[in-house]
């Protein structure tokens, strides 16, 4: 509690500093404007009233100088105090308003950074297996593997939702879901609308295969008259993305294509059951594009080999 209070206090102080700086700049700007206006008025008065006693000019000069000096000190302080008071009084409201936004931004930033790091490590692992660098890197391979494992487990990607959507109408035909708070019917419609919009707006033959929404990554697979969709959460690198795309393709081949070839209509309930069973078994799915798992297996084999080598006869080696 005390820690939270301190943090809140620090945040408010930062706001005060920002407001003070903004006010100082605004005061400076106004000061210049008023100075020019006053100088202009003074000149006009002198020109228009040649009969005004010369004593008036020094008085005006003096007032201008006083105004210059007092403007920052008086008006600035008064406004700053008033705003400080207002902010202090509405501090809980400001914190309530800012925290969700900041939280989302930080989550999104961390996710992107972790994805970049994950991609980098995957590439590094791939490079590790080149013939040239194998000898050089064989002893450092444990470190790389551990990093990759920790990273993968820290924010492991998973499939939150999967849908079968009718392409023409955007109607949801089948679903696999872990999240009741999402209105899947409307999500299905919006995905179809976005896909149509992108195609229409960019006049391209290509396919939109991923939409990012908040911390979700929505993977789309075009299965003739259906869209197969998977909504993913966690750190989704390209390896995982292609693994999911491959898995959607497998569902198309094993289920949708068969129904189409038999000339049957898709039964929504049966399709949802099939989709659920399919994605329940996703963890066991491995493909040639699943580089991480493939390389992980290789790493484990090398790990075992190195352990066996540790029993090597070092006396013989020295000799």
């Amino acid at each position: 509690m005390e820690q939270e209070a301190n943090n809140s206090g620090k945040k408010v102080d930062v706001f005060f500093e920002m407001f003070e700086e903004a006010l100082r700049q605004e005061n400076q700007r106004l000061k210049i404007i008023y100075e020019k206006q006053l100088e202009g008025i003074k000149e006009e008065l002198i020109k228009a009233n040649a009969n005004i006693p010369e004593v008036v000019a020094p008085v005006v000069d003096k007032k201008v100088e006083e105004f210059k000096v007092e403007f920052d000190g008086q008006s600035g302080k008064m406004v700053t105090t008033a705003i400080k008071k207002q902010i202090k009084e509405s501090q809980p409201d400001i914190i309530d308003a800012l925290y969700p936004i900041m939280g989302k931004l930080i989550t999104k930033f961390l996710q992107i950074e972790l994805e970049k790091l994950s991609e980098g490590i995957n590439k590094q692992i791939e490079n590790t297996f080149s013939v040239e660098s194998m000898k050089r890197q064989v002893f450092s391979i444990f470190g790389i593997k551990q990093d990759a494992q920790i990273l993968k487990n820290a924010n492991k990607p998973n499939v939150e939702e999967a849908y079968v959507i009718e392409q023409d109408s955007g109607m949801l035909l089948a679903e696999y879901t872990h999240n009741d708070s999402v209105d899947n019917d409307m999500v299905a419609g919006m995905i179809t609308a976005i896909k149509s919009f992108v195609k229409d707006a960019f006049y391209q033959d290509g396919e939109l295969d991923m939409i990012e929404y908040g911390t979700f990554k929505i993977i789309l697979y075009n299965a003739r008259k259906y869209y197969l969709v998977a909504a993913l959460k966690g750190v989704v690198d390209s390896t995982y993305k292609y693994r999911v795309l491959d898995y959607l393709k497998v569902f198309d081949e094993n289920y949708l294509s068969k129904i189409e070839n038999q000339g049957n209509q898709l039964d929504n309930k049966a399709a949802s059951d099939a989709l659920t069973a399919h994605f329940d078994a996703f963890e066991n799915f491995n493909t040639s594009t699943n580089t991480f798992n493939t390389l992980n297996t290789k790493l484990n084999k090398i790990d075992e080999t190195i352990k066996q080598k540790s029993h090597f006869n070092w006396k013989f080696w020295r000799w």
């Binding site: 009718e166 023409d168 109408s169 955007g170 109607m171 949801l172 209105d183 019917d185 409307m186 419609g189 919006m190 179809t192 609308a193 976005i194 149509s196 919009f197 195609k199 229409d200």
Partner: protein, 168 residues
């Protein structure tokens, strides 16, 4: 109870009150920021339709309502938004003749894309005029007001019944 999901589109000229009618029917406001960007806003409402005869079953119908922005003119709206619709609500503004001058052409165009869809024509903003002043030749199914709620539920219910009776 039989459960069905159907797609309904609201079309008509700019400013005739399509979005207001949808909001009045759905009673739930979703973000409309994307309406201007994508040119479509999707809402959903589930209604129950009681069977007319003993040998029929009551129906729980989920309406996916696509509120399509802008003109009906062929080149201005993404045709994909119309596809797969089971029902069409064509809305015009009773206070602006320009919004129903092209009604025949618009409906003929939509019929080429959706020949089997059920259609109802609605004159909106009826609260702003004296109904007796309306042109006697003007053809419509309902006069509605999103502001007062007049005929809003009724027109959606009527369309739903038509969809169930004669599925597209």
């Amino acid at each position: 109870m039989k459960q069905l999901s159907k797609k309904v589109i609201l079309i008509g000229n700019f400013g005739v009150g399509k979005t207001s009618l949808t909001n009045a029917f759905v009673h739930k406001r979703f973000s409309e920021d994307y309406l201007t960007t994508l040119g479509v806003k999707i809402d959903k409402k589930t209604i129950e339709i009681l069977a007319q005869n003993d040998d029929e079953e009551d129906t729980q119908l989920t309406l996916l309502i696509w509120d399509i922005a802008g003109e009906v003119a062929q080149e201005k709206v993404n045709k994909a938004y119309y596809l797969g619709s089971h029902g069409i609500i064509y809305v015009f503004d009773v206070t602006r003749p320009s919004t129903f001058e092209k009604m025949k052409e618009d409906l003929a165009y939509v019929a080429t894309i959706l020949p089997k869809a059920q259609v109802i024509v609605v004159g909106n903003k009826v609260d702003l005029i004296d109904v007796n002043t309306l042109d006697a030749d003007l053809k419509y199914d309902f006069l509605s007001s999103a502001k007062t709620g007049e005929n809003v539920e009724k027109m959606f219910l009527e369309l739903s019944k038509k969809i169930i009776q004669e599925p597209a």
